[in-house]
């Protein structure tokens, strides 16, 4: 592989071998080389085989804009923006993970930002979804995105003073003592809870706000830096036209119909599906503006995982999406297996498909029940929870846990299935569709249900891609993008199933798409249970999977492997990957970096809910307050995954 300026841009992990693979023929790579020349420092290959381009951080915006706008590239989905750091003194890497719907190609652009000049251009004008993703990188690493319209803390409290948690010099348990953390948390003022613009809307004078990031001395973001959120593009005009140069403050004064009202919804609210907080500016019953606040459940998964061995990360993954836990287990194990370069056994692959689809049902069933409660149909909740209990029983028979299953291990599963499990699963698959029909009879042609959901929260296909929506929310807008079809994993290309798409992109279509997805999951389950093969469940490599006790007691080699795995854990070769699967909520990405040790250097989880909820302000604009509930419910978010 030819590389032009290799020496100027080192690989993130020192000494990491290139996984090989010829990526120079990739049209994106050659075009970038041709057009940007020196700005392209290095070209490499992800563990999955798609190209990674390291570019000069000063010209990253140009490069990314070209990749989006050029018709031969057309990378229209910005799947992820993530930061990474390999050591306390090393520069911070910013990854842009791209996917082109038109050409079906994947590409990663990687930039290096030195610690003494932590600045890089924003791409919020190229992809709308970059807004929250860049805010998160700022919040966690302190990288300033030049020109970002609303750069402030997103997961941590607005006035968080301990620093940037995901930096390597940040201690796992924070800089302050526990009692100080409790004290500070309970004595938070208005400014810690509201954004500056909200305080201005509410007429609170701008007072002494400390620099965000505090100790690290980053310049504070002032109200003047925060532009208007561009949320009106391509939509019908709002109730009252807002001139671009007219500030909302003037609007308040000039209003003759009365004052707009600012209300808080959440974080403790029965219909926000967790601890989500929405600040709504209302004109009567209509939403003028919605500003979501997240981070109330920020659990520090990504930081904590850096202190755990590869297999110890598995129990953390299912606590992120507790509605469909096994999908996270499966995705994480798959990502690490790509880094290791091992192929799991056929039995394991089919079993993961079965468990994954069961959990897709589990996630959709919870969504259906809670959404029906939100919209006013309580009985559906009881129906769906009955089916969930049956899936829980299958979980319990296999793993011992109902929700927190932690079922996968790198290279296989925690154990083989107990006797009779497959028959129980077949029985479930046979009887389950009756419940879908029953729920459909209750809802699909119900006048109240239709009135509350049709033409509410409409989003067009292009808009949805621009906002980075994935999963059923994107498909309801008419875009047939499903990772299982686009980049098949676990042998999904061998199964016969359809990808349902909607037409209108409203709440009703999202409901229909999920109902149909449940039917398709049943189809996949039938096929998988039909072909479920015999054979070993784990791979035959005792450097990765734990040997059985009987063998460990008999042979000294096996005993040594057993001892090393228990005492040290797996060693994953140095490398990096961004691997994704289709979870029940959308594209679930795992950005994983290893330095050859027994623990990950970086464990990034791209939760689809995080991206999906970012589009909520556009969807609810100019709708009624009651519709906020329906739209928020229709997005199927899980706060554990949003806040991580």
């Amino acid at each position: 592989m030819e590389s032009s300026v290799t020496e100027t841009a080192p690989h993130l992990v020192e000494g990491a071998p290139d996984p090989g693979g010829d990526v120079t023929e990739h049209p994106g790579v050659s075009a970038l080389r041709e057009r940007f020349g020196d700005a392209v420092h290095r070209v490499g290959c992800d563990a999955l085989g798609y190209p990674v381009v390291w570019v000069d951080s000063a010209r990253s915006v140009e490069v990314l804009e070209f990749l989006r706008r050029d018709p031969d590239q057309a990378y229209d989905l910005l799947a992820d923006v993530m930061g990474a750091q390999s050591g306390a003194e090393t520069p911070i890497q910013v990854w842009y993970q791209l996917w082109s719907m038109r050409h079906g190609r994947q590409l990663r652009v990687s930039c290096e930002v030195p610690l003494d000049d932590l600045e890089i251009g924003t791409v919020t004008h190229v992809w709308k979804t970059a807004n929250w993703l860049e805010r998160e990188v700022w919040d966690m690493f302190g990288v300033t995105f030049r020109g970002h319209p609303d750069l402030r803390r997103i997961l941590m409290p607005e006035n968080y003073e301990e620093g940037f948690p995901l930096r390597k010099d940040f201690p796992l348990r924070g800089r302050f003592s526990r009692s100080e953390q409790v004290r500070r948390s309970l004595t938070r003022g208005l400014e810690d809870v509201y954004a500056i613009e909200e305080l201005e809307l509410a007429g609170v004078p701008n007072s002494s706000r400390v620099a965000p990031g505090g100790a690290d001395g980053t310049a504070p973001v002032t109200a003047a830096d925060i532009g208007e959120l561009d949320t009106t593009e391509g939509r019908r005009p709002p109730l009252r036209d807002i001139e671009p140069d007219e500030s909302l403050g003037d609007l308040l004064e000039n209003s003759v119909e009365g004052e707009p009202m600012l209300i808080n919804m959440g974080p403790q609210h029965p219909a926000t599906h967790g601890v989500l907080r929405l600040v709504l500016q209302l004109d009567g019953e209509r939403i003028m503006r919605c500003i979501p606040h997240i981070g109330y459940l920020h659990t520090g998964f990504e930081k904590t995982c850096e202190f755990r061995e590869w297999n110890q990360v598995v129990p953390y993954t299912d606590r992120m999406d507790y509605l469909a836990p096994m999908l996270y287990n499966i995705g994480y194990a798959g990502a690490v297996e790509r880094l290791l370069g091992v192929e799991i056994t056929e039995r394991c692959r089919v079993l993961r498909v079965i468990l994954g689809e069961l959990n897709r049902l589990l996630g959709h069933l919870l969504w259906l029940g809670t959404t029906a409660i939100d919209i006013g149909a309580f009985s559906v909740f009881l129906y769906t929870f009955q089916e969930r209990e049956r899936i829980y029983n299958l979980h319990e028979a296999y793993t011992g846990g109902r929700i927190t299953t932690s079922v996968t291990r790198v290279g296989g599963m925690m154990a083989d299935l107990p006797a009779g499990w497959v028959d129980a699963a077949r029985e479930f698959v046979r009887t389950f569709p009756a419940t879908i029909d029953e729920v459909e009879r209750l809802l699909s042609r119900n006048a109240i249900w239709q009135g509350r959901t049709m033409n509410i929260g409409v989003m067009s296909g292009e808009e949805a891609i621009d906002w980075g929506l994935t999963g059923p929310n994107l498909r309801a807008s008419g875009v047939a993008y499903d990772v299982r079809k686009a980049r098949p994993y676990l042998g999904y290309d061998e199964y016969d199933f359809d990808v349902p798409v909607g037409v209108h992109g409203d709440v009703y279509d999202r409901y229909l798409v999920r109902i149909e997805e449940m039917r398709q999951s049943v189809r996949i389950l039938e096929q998988a249970l039909e072909r479920f093969p015999d054979g070993p469940i784990n791979i035959d490599d005792y450097r990765v999977v734990l040997p059985p006790k009987s063998e460990a007691m008999g042979s000294i080699d096996t005993m040594i492997s057993h001892f090393k795995l228990v005492m040290e854990g797996i060693r994953v070769p140095a490398g990096e990957t961004w691997y994704s699967i289709e979870s029940s909520k959308g594209e679930l990405g795992f950005g994983i970096i290893s330095d050859g040790g027994t623990k990950p250097v970086r464990c990034r989880f791209r939760g689809p809910s995080f991206i999906n909820i970012a589009a909520l302000p556009v969807m609810v604009e100019d709708e009624l307050v009651a519709d906020v509930i329906a739209i928020n419910a229709s997005l199927d978010v899980v706060l554990g995954e949003i806040d991580r």
């Binding site: 941590m156 109330y296 459940l297 904590t304 027994t598």
Partner: protein, 234 residues
């Protein structure tokens, strides 16, 4: 802890752990206690403060299979003003702690609190910069339900324990439910106790090692080993 704060040391009442309200315990008050406690314990209105995985099990407990309506608790009260039992289900972050405290302060007396699951009770597997290491540092807790998450049966058992607790309460002794006026919005425990129960920097012994604050004795990563070798060379 709270009880100790409200009772002046050296008095008889302090020795007994009971505040003397001047109402003698007689046939009338005990019968009244019985009726009041019967009414209170059989119609608890829970305020579900659900945040994470445990909230899903709490929903399962309310759904058809487990049905906490059997114990008079199916009326979930999403307004703290009309609730008397707070079920904290799931992890609580430092960002969420003031909300939790505020909701507790908004609930009228008498009120009880169940800490559901390992995270709410002790921080669970999240011993890090963002999770409160046990909600009892923020609000007083009556019953801790272990599990990650507890099964619905576990939650129901915890709720039955609350019922047992209510059975033993008396109108003539309001001290178990006393909260000092000035305690609103403040930590439930004094700073020394918080440090004591959670250690200044968490309750894990290898905090300093993994955080890089102190040199490590057991080196695991190749890079660490390299650095160590360089130090030795010096």
């Amino acid at each position: 802890m709270r009880k100790l704060d409200t009772i002046a040391p050296g008095t008889d009442a302090a020795a007994e752990g009971v505040v003397d309200t001047g109402i003698p315990r007689n046939w009338l008050t005990t019968r009244l206690d019985y009726v009041v406690n019967w009414a209170r314990r059989n119609s608890l209105w829970p305020m579900p403060f659900g945040t994470a995985c445990c909230a899903i099990e709490m929903m399962a407990a309310a759904a058809s299979k487990y049905d906490i309506g059997r114990f008079g608790m199916e009326r979930m009260s999403f307004s703290p003003r009309q609730a008397d039992l707070m079920i904290v289900a799931g992890r609580v972050t430092y960002k969420l702690a003031p909300v939790l405290r505020r909701i507790w302060d908004q609930m009228p007396q008498p009120k009880w609190c169940v800490s559901m699951g390992a995270c709410a009770s002790s921080g669970g597997m999240f011993d890090n910069y963002t999770i409160v290491q046990g909600i009892d540092t923020v609000v007083p807790v009556d019953v801790y339900v272990p599990g990650c998450p507890p099964r619905p049966e576990g939650l129901i058992y915890g709720l039955l324990m609350i019922q047992e607790k209510i059975k033993g309460e008396s109108l003539s002794n309001p001290s178990p439910r006393d909260e000092a006026q000035g305690a609103v919005g403040l930590p439930n425990l004094p700073p020394e106790t918080i440090e004591l129960v959670s250690q200044p920097f968490g309750n894990s012994t290898n905090q300093n090692r993994v955080s890089g604050l102190a040199p490590t004795s057991a080196l695991k990563r190749p890079r660490d080993r390299r650095e160590r070798r360089l130090e030795h060379d010096d």
